[in-house]
Symmetry: C2
Subunit: 471 residues, 2 copies
């Protein structure tokens, strides 16, 4: 494809994107599809002959776009917001268009240094001290794995440099709660910690926050048993109910035993840009690693997960390689982000943050987050005032967890009722919410925070819910 052909097709694609976004509210949130439907609409074999870009764009419109769950739709309340601000999309397009290669400082100085600058801007905006140095990972899942690998090597005095984990005699233990994201358990297992050594700390029955007293007890028991406490993963805003583990008390306990603390603030970390919300995170400054995802509520297009550490030299020692073909003539003073994570080759992800912060501005982002907090409080009030509805977890930020409980309905029958009404709404395409387990029974998470979701959309949601539970 020549630059002139690209220019023409690119303009058409930009128009398509602008039109698609402008018309998102008129579409279904969730597509009406079964597994295999998209596959059967596509050829089994690769194309023989080149096709015009317009033909591909036509298929994007007719085959692809109708087959995505429209997370930019103002009636999307599923999982977490996955905002893709148009400003950040511009930055992502710039990254694609540059076609740069991030394998070392030398391969793209700007890719490295714009990342250093923008990651530090976000550090300042979230109130972390200059002691923290950051990097962009793809997701919080990866950030958690990297954090646990760093924790593992600290706990074993760099066993990787000699006999590896099999040579260790004391099992390594990881502490978290049932509320932690599934990626925490996955990261611990992949890091070589067995399922037998993942400790689920008791939670406050009301808030589902980690109980520090139980954490202290579990760690003491493990130490007494000859096990080695390796890491605590604290959820700051859990996926299920936005639980906030008490990070200040956790780091106090961790410090007594030299245990690594990773603060997983994947969704909620965005709230740190609001000074009035920082008390929820008090103590985070003393953790060993922190990650949060601008690609969620904050509005940067996926994938963009910030990870900060207080001891980058340790992280680099765990993750580094220095083959001859990657040695730079620039000497040792340049940051080599390949040594901060798993992949060698990295995209120019910082451009999407750079574009978003410069074009939208932090004031507008803060105002949007505050709007969402207000909307969540308003929505919780509606449910509190309605008969039959329960708000089943404290509303810490922008997620409201509800059940509708007709008189006398309990246990499995209540679960069936919950799943019936949420599926009815989800399959209608009018709105989308995620059912989730709480204490062994289903509830529904209403996760507010799509860029285009205003109060009127929540009013419409309340009407849909009222109609669905009667039907």
């Amino acid at each position: 494809m020549t630059p002139e052909e690209f220019r023409h097709a690119g303009h058409e694609l930009i128009d398509w994107i602008a039109d698609h976004r402008a018309s998102v509210e008129g579409r279904r949130v969730r597509p009406d599809l079964e597994p295999g439907d998209v596959i059967s609409a596509l050829p089994d074999a690769p194309p023989d002959a080149p096709e015009p870009a317009a033909a591909v764009l036509a298929d994007l419109e007719t085959v692809v776009a109708p087959a995505v769950l429209e997370v930019q739709h103002p009636m999307h309340f599923g999982w977490f917001p996955s905002n893709a601000s148009l400003s950040s999309i511009l930055g992502d397009i710039a990254a694609s268009g540059l076609g740069s290669l991030g394998i070392s400082w030398e391969s793209s100085p700007a890719l490295t240094e714009v990342e250093e600058v923008v990651v530090d801007w976000l550090r300042q905006l979230t109130g972390l001290s200059p002691e923290w140095k950051g990097v962009i990972q793809d997701t919080a899942s990866t950030a958690c794995l990297v954090a646990l690998l760093a924790a593992r090597e600290r706990a074993t005095d760099h066993a990787q440099a000699s006999g590896g984990l099999v040579g260790e005699s004391e099992p390594l233990c990881v502490y978290t709660t049932e509320e932690a994201h599934s990626s925490v358990r996955k990261a611990a297992l992949l890091a070589g910690v067995g399922a037998d050594h993942i400790r689920l700390v008791e939670m406050d029955p009301e808030t589902r926050d980690m109980q520090p007293g139980d954490l202290a007890r579990l760690i003491a028991d493990d130490v007494a048993a000859g096990h080695r406490p390796m890491a605590i993963v604290a959820s700051l805003g859990s996926t299920g109910t936005t639980a906030f583990d008490p990070i200040a008390e956790i780091v106090d306990i961790a410090d007594q035993h030299g245990v690594w603390v990773h603060a997983d603030a994947a969704m909620a970390g965005a709230a740190m840009v609001l000074p009035e919300m920082r008390p929820l995170f008090a103590g985070i400054e003393r953790a060993d690693s922190v990650s949060w995802n601008p690609h969620k509520w904050f509005g940067t297009i996926l994938d963009c997960s910030l990870m900060y550490v207080r001891d980058p030299d340790h992280l680099i020692r765990v993750m580094s390689t220095n083959p001859s073909y990657l040695r730079s003539t620039a000497g040792g003073e340049a940051t080599q982000y390949r040594d901060w994570g798993v992949p060698l080759g990295r995209r120019f992800r910082s451009l999407k943050l750079w574009y978003q912060l410069r074009i939208d501005g932090i004031d507008a982002i803060q105002a949007r987050l505050r709007r969402d907090l207000d909307n969540a409080a308003w929505l919780a009030d509606q449910f509190e005032a309605k008969s039959g509805w329960e708000v089943v977890a404290p509303v810490r930020l922008q997620t409201v967890c509800v059940r509708h409980r007709p008189a006398g309905l309990e246990g499995d029958e209540l679960d069936a009722h919950t799943l019936a009404w949420v599926r009815a709404i989800n399959t209608s395409g009018a709105a989308f919410m995620s059912p989730s387990m709480l204490d062994g029974h289903w509830m529904v998470r209403i996760s507010i925070g799509v860029e285009s979701t205003e109060r009127a959309h929540l009013e419409r949601l309340v009407e849909l819910l009222d109609a669905a539970v009667v039907a």
Copy 2:
């Protein structure tokens, strides 16, 4: 940013990308910069007020673009080709513009199913049997880590489900060669295999291919010592010299001991789309996992690494999670790519392959790869015919490894000469090549394969080289 503001800024950005690509040959390959130069050109603090998109584009032009090593330049011969075909950039832009979320089939059926289809198209084009199922990872580094985690859990009968690696009594061993990419050692260390248990198999002194006899001996020794052979990573086209480990003989040996074989064809895998090159890969069909990067020579914009496995059920068992908030109403028959890798959230990476294959067509891609093979053979002939120059490794594909050896120069003096001439060219900005170690001494890799590199560019390179070694 509104859709109309995006439309306007998007058109300007597309024009900038088209102009940038059209004018790439007029720019330096390597920027003339020191670490910190880009940082000092950017504000320390985040912007207070929103800025127009045009201001950001102006900085893209004046601050960012001049500070990347221009890997799309026809005189770029460093590392590996990192082609970003404009067709694949269109697909990447479509992915950004859709703003879709890949955390499950339900979150974006098209994201899952287009990936299944396109990954299978590439399977067909590379001659792998339908037994192989694939996924797109970010990079071959990650694919190698995932492969070694799968190997580890197979070797330990899923130790992660119980006591983890510390509970194992027999050390796990990984076999590869000194020619293997740095990511292989890194993956083994991160997977919990200690450095003491990474075995570097002897290589053929001429080709640097793994010697299967030595592999068999090392495995037998480890078994006799009570160690457990876990995985063999075969380099099919190594980074340094394009060595090809004899994969057919390797899988024969592996089968005797039930050892996992991962075929790392990161760069060279693209050559499998040329039927005449497949003999180099004969036996790959019997490996356990294969990865190669369309984001290198093939021309798909970074990041896009294909990973195929023959036993996806095993991989899924190792990598899966199934929390309640991710359970789909679609039942169990849908592919859940989150269970094929580390990150939960995934971009719509298949669109860049889909666009590229449809717009460029496989015939044109094949013709370009053949052109590069011809160019490499031609270039090697030039050096063979010149006095003072040596081609120091067999030219298997598109990389030509050379030294210039003035009469009598040996050892450290020869190294100093080699680094002097390659740095002179690299810092001039006229061309870029990677110095690399071979048998303890520096040589220079000339990696051919940028989309725009034609014979005339190689003729110019020869002139530059001749001038540099005299200077």
